[in-house]
Subunit: 126 residues, 2 copies
DNA sequence: ATAATGCTTTGAGCGCACTCCAAGTCAAGC
DNA sequence: GCTTGACTTGGAGTGCGCTCAAAGCATTAT
């Protein structure tokens, strides 16, 4: 699969795909004899993983570390486990914050729905 | 309340507090005769709101727009309602993405827990 | 063979959200 | 009155995560 196809498949720009590879967020991609990227199944798996992690807001740094450990082989299972666990914690925390903010927005939205109907905003700080 | 106290109360740097005010993410803060910030209850409410929204990852831009509308008075209820609703949507989406990633991490973590015990990682792409 | 297209690398540039710095002002204690 | 320390402003600098540009090589269509 060419970089163009991968770009379209995942909705990630070619520049970003090259960037991910360059900084080590995905392992080196399979190349043709002429040095042109030819993404295999495994490469696609990495791209998909990277996209998922970045979507959730995980730092690029964490992904780079994970890829590095993976490439160092079976002796890094424990380190990878720890890394994943830490990142999971961070995501849970972030999810909590978002949930709290949504709750707050819901409350404000209800007040504004009233305000739009009645012309008066029920009082409360901001 | 001085900027120093507010900074400590909310865990936001003085620089950031001034930045928030400068860009309009919170309305102008009450000042002493000498021009020194003296945060009142209402100002604190705005700071707290700003912190909550930023914690959830809402763009500064959105908060600026909301503050602007608020200062334009009662004619902007509908616009404020729309803004809040949009931001709520964005947060819900982000929460979904995080939830999906957590699920995925959970799965990987289970595999690595096994791997650490047995020395073998059950196969699966990355 | 030539032109067009699309890939390659390297390195610079950008937008966001701060964060730091310089130079100056103010307020409180000695 | 003078020093100290916290405050002020305006503007420059930083880190992250891309994003773009320049210059050159490869592949395909004519």
């Amino acid at each position: 699969m060419t970089i163009k196809e991968v770009s379209e498949k995942f909705g990630i720009s070619q520049d970003t795909l090259r960037y991910y590879e360059r900084v080590g967020m995905i392992p080196p991609v399979t190349r043709s004899s002429g040095g042109i990227r030819n993404y295999q199944e495994e490469d696609l798996g990495w791209v998909e993983l990277a996209k998922c992690m970045r979507n959730a807001g995980l730092p690029v740094e964490a992904m780079i570390e994970y890829v590095k450990l993976t490439q160092e082989g079976d002796s890094t299972f424990a380190a990878r486990l720890q890394l994943l666990t830490e990142q999971r914690e961070a995501l849970l925390e972030q999810k909590e914050k978002i949930a709290a903010t949504i709750k707050r927005l819901d409350h404000k939205i209800r007040r504004y729905e009233d305000a739009v109907k009645t012309g008066v905003l029920s009082w409360e700080n901001n």
